[in-house]
Amino acid sequence: QEAAKYEKKVMVLDFVTPTPLGNSWGLGGTCVNVGCIPKKLMHQAALLGQALQDSRKFGWQFTEEVKHNWMTMTEAVQNYIGSLNWGYRVALRDKKVTYENAYGEFVGPHTVKATNKRGVAKLYTAERFLIATGERPRYLGIPGDKEYCISSDDLFSLPYCPGKTLVVGASYVALECAGFLAGLGLDVTVMVRSILLRGFDQDMASKIGQYMEEHGINFIREFVPIKVEQIEEGTPGRLKVIAKSTKGNQIIEGEYNTVLLAIGRDACTRKIGLDKVGVKINEKTGKIPVNDEEQTNVPYIYAVGDILQDKLELTPVAIQAGRLLVRRLYAGAASKCDYVNVPTTVFTPLEYGACGYSEETAVEKFGEENIEVYHSHFWPLEWTVPSRDNNKCYAKIICNIQDNERVIGFHVLGPNAGEVTQGFAAAIKCGLTKEQLDSTIGIHPVCAE
């Protein structure tokens, strides 16, 4: 859309290869269809369930038992996504961007082949190309994984309630999904190979895990599934999962209605003909190294989003990088995408917002003696009356002593963590120091203060 603004002739090739279970979706990418959007809506559904319980303490009286209907929620979420898919079609049409629902792959210099779902292929040439093919969930590579397990690509449009669920993985995807499924009243177990939320501040990660465990989610740690068998077909069916310890020979078995794999995502860069045009990728990870202008080793080919090596896998980052790139190419702008101090939020039952360094990375980079960590537990006012946990919500900032106690890391665990964190990210971008933070008067009574 940005390039079309500058009178460029633009085409978009978007194609979703169906999941092993045959699921597919419309225009908009992962975030819109099988990521952030449905995730946040289902997380909200779970939060509302909790709110209903809290409401009794605030005087609301209802005698009917409160139950959750998976189909009502899923249909509503999918309807919203459908409107977004259509909105993107209209937006592209209005900006005169040509859209083809076809699988694009390079076949030679400046040339791509686009194959639609009926197998009809057309060739297109262009002056420049932008690769933003994203990632797809990884499978375990064990018997029964593709036949019987689902991934996040299937979960948000599942046409039946998943029932008793085993979530395999410890990524934010795994924990967020486990979190809302449990919040909707389902029996949820999380099977973790080693640590939770690799790459995130581990002190915060362990607090998130502890909260989930104390709130009814079972954790099986240091085990990996080695086989999934079907006991009974159905919607949902019954599955048997056999798992082996990572620390010895112990084997365990469990029965679940649904097994959700969330062990990681792999870049969609292996089957798009990059070898035909000489674009170098990291053979091990499939990710594409780019310079600070999102350019690959082939000058007329650029890349943005989750497929980039050593960059953040976040929708707003990809969007920003793409827009700035186009402005640099066609509008004479010079701004490059700033990948530092990008705020994020994990929407686990106890939400976690962060911006900047984790404590361990700060210690590694600056030395333990050069950083100061200020931290505190807090009890949200809204949690007092319903007697919810008074020692779980937590916030810390990491400051660089050698640089005026500059705030280099911000971490908050509590309700509305995303809303809380956004403003602080802007302050951190402006070089927020501990002194400036101290002299900022709080808003009372809110968590952010």
Binding site: N79, I81, G82, S83, W86, R89, V90, R93, D94
Partner: protein, 92 residues
Amino acid sequence: NNPKPVVVDFHAQWCGPCKILGPRLEKVVAKQEGKVLMAKVDIDDHTDLAIEYEVSAVPTVLAMKNGDVVDKFVGIKDEDQLEAFLKKLIGA
């Protein structure tokens, strides 16, 4: 190609207001005793058609006579408004 005027209801599965307008429009069309025909187009099943007729939001209802779009409206209308819309199409 139809010698009779046709009203076209562009709708989508995910559109709440469409589910209200659809049956209401059908009822009012039926009252015209065959003087106007109705076509229903699901914009996700027939996206090219929807794009060709410049549908942005749904529901979008087109009034067609001799292959030309002579009138249109977007969003929900009540029965009286639909009646007037159809009478205008038949009369014109």
